[in-house]
Symmetry: C2
Subunit: 205 residues, 2 copies
DNA sequence: ATTGCAAGAATGTCAGACAATCGGTGTTGA
DNA sequence: TCAACACCGATTGTCTGACATTCTTGCAAT
C-alpha cells in the first residue's frame, strides 16, 4: 500500500488512467488478493477510484473539486494554527523553527521535491500540536488528495520564496502565542497557495 | 461492506471486541478475500482497527477521542449550515421542512432508531446543499465514527424534544437565509448534542 | 507462583481457477 | 455507406484451498 501511495504521490500514474490489477501485481511482486486489499484502502482514502467492473483508476482532479478540498483544508488548517498558537510550548517553538530553516534552505535551492517535503513537515508539526488528533488526521487525508498540485505550484517562479515569507509569518504568530494572528497568517498563506495551484494548473493545460 | 457497516452502526459488536475473519465469513456467506477487502475499507474509514497479526477489532471510543471528533464535526457542520443559509433555494427549504416534520413525528414516539435516522436525514440535507461535496463527505465520515453515541444520547429523557427545538431554530435561520444565525444555531445544537452524548456515556459506565 | 514451552487458533499471503461484465471489432443488413 | 448487432478478448469479482507466521492459551516443570 505504501509503495502504491508513493507512486501516486510522485505522479507516476496519469490522472484518469486505469490501473490494471494483474500489471500491478507483477510490478509489486504480490498476489491479487493482497493488491486488492491495498486498493480498497486507497479507495477509501480517495486516492484512487474503483468503479464496479471497470476497476481502479486515478481520479482526474478537476479544479472545482480541488477548490472544495482547499476550502475544507483552510477550515481545518486555520483552526489548527490558532489552537497551536494558544497552546504552544518552548520545545515546540524550537521544533518549528528548525523545520522552518530546513524549508528556508530548500527554498533557496531548485529542488521542488525537497521544498514540498520540508513545507509539509512544517505544517505537520503545527497539526500535530493543535491538540486534536482527528483534525490532524483529516487534514492529512485532504492534503494527500491534492499532492498532485503541490510539487507543480512550488515550481512556480518565486513561489518558494513567498511561501517562505508566509510561513515565517505563521511561525512568528505561533511563537508569540497570538492565536488571532496565527489564524490570519495561516489563512493568508492558504489563499496564496491556492492561487499558485490554480496558476500552475492553468499553465499546464 | 454495507452489511458490516450496518452491523457496526447498530452496535452489534462490543467496543474493543475482536472480529474473527472466519466467523464473519460464514455469517456473511462470503470468502475471506472478499471479507478482507471490506475490512480494509472500513479500516480506512476508521470504523474498525486492524493491528498486524491481531486482526480487526471495534475501536474502543474514549471520550477524549469522541471530543476530538465532535470538535472537528462542529467546525464542518457550522460552516455547512452557514453556507447552506446563504445559498438556500425554495425547493430545498421545502425539503428541509419535510425532513424536520419527519423528525418531529419520530421525536414524539419512543423509537430512538427512527429519531436518529430522521435527524441524520435533516443534517445530510444541509450538508448536501452547502455547496461543498468534500465538506459533506468528511462530515459523513466523522458522524459515522460517533454513531455509537447517537442512539444512546437520543434515548435520554427529553433529548429528542430539545433536539427538535434546536433543529427548528437551525431550519428557521436557513430558511430566512440568515447565515450568521444559522451558524449560531448550529453551534448551539452541537454543543447540546455533545453534552447529551457525554451524559449518556457517563451514565452507561 | 512463576516461567517456559507446546499446541491451537487466527492472520498474512499466495496460487489457481471460473463466472460475469465491459469494450472494441468485425460482420451483417438496410 | 452507415448503423445495429453479435462476438471475443481483456479485466474484474469471487471462490477454494493451502501454507507459513504470529499470537494466545493452557499445561507442565522448576
Amino acid at each position: 500500500m505504501d509503495k502504491l501511495r508513493l507512486a501516486i504521490f510522485s505522479g507516476l500514474f496519469q490522472p484518469g488512467s486505469r490501473l490494471i490489477e494483474s500489471q500491478l501485481c507483477t510490478q509489486l511482486g504480490i498476489s491479487r488478493p493482497s493488491l486488492r486489499e491495498a486498493l480498497r484502502s486507497l479507495e477509501a482514502e480517495r486516492l484512487i477510484e474503483i468503479v464496479p467492473n471497470r476497476g481502479p483508476s486515478i481520479p482526474a482532479l478537476t479544479w472545482e473539486k480541488a477548490t472544495a478540498i482547499y476550502e475544507v483544508r483552510e477550515l481545518l488548517e486555520v483552526e489548527a494554527a490558532g489552537r497551536c498558537a494558544s497552546r504552544i510550548r518552548p520545545e515546540q517553538v524550537l521544533e518549528l523553527e528548525k523545520s522552518l530553516s530546513a524549508f528556508e534552505e530548500a527554498a533557496s535551492s531548485n529542488d521542488s521535491l525537497a521544498q514540498v517535503m520540508t513545507a509539509a513537515d512544517f505544517y505537520s508539526i503545527i497539526l500535530a500540536n493543535c491538540g486534536n488528533p482527528v483534525l490532524e488526521e483529516v487534514h492529512r487525508g485532504l492534503v494527500a488528495r491534492i499532492s498532485f498540485f503541490r510539487g507543480r505550484s512550488m515550481s512556480l517562479e518565486g513561489r518558494a520564496q513567498s511561501s517562505l515569507a508566509e510561513m515565517r509569518e505563521i511561525f512568528e504568530s505561533i511563537a508569540a502565542g497570538d492565536e488571532k494572528a496565527a489564524r490570519k497568517a495561516s489563512k493568508k498563506h492558504l489563499l496564496k497557495a491556492k492561487a499558485a495551484a490554480k496558476l500552475s494548473m492553468d499553465g499546464a493545460v
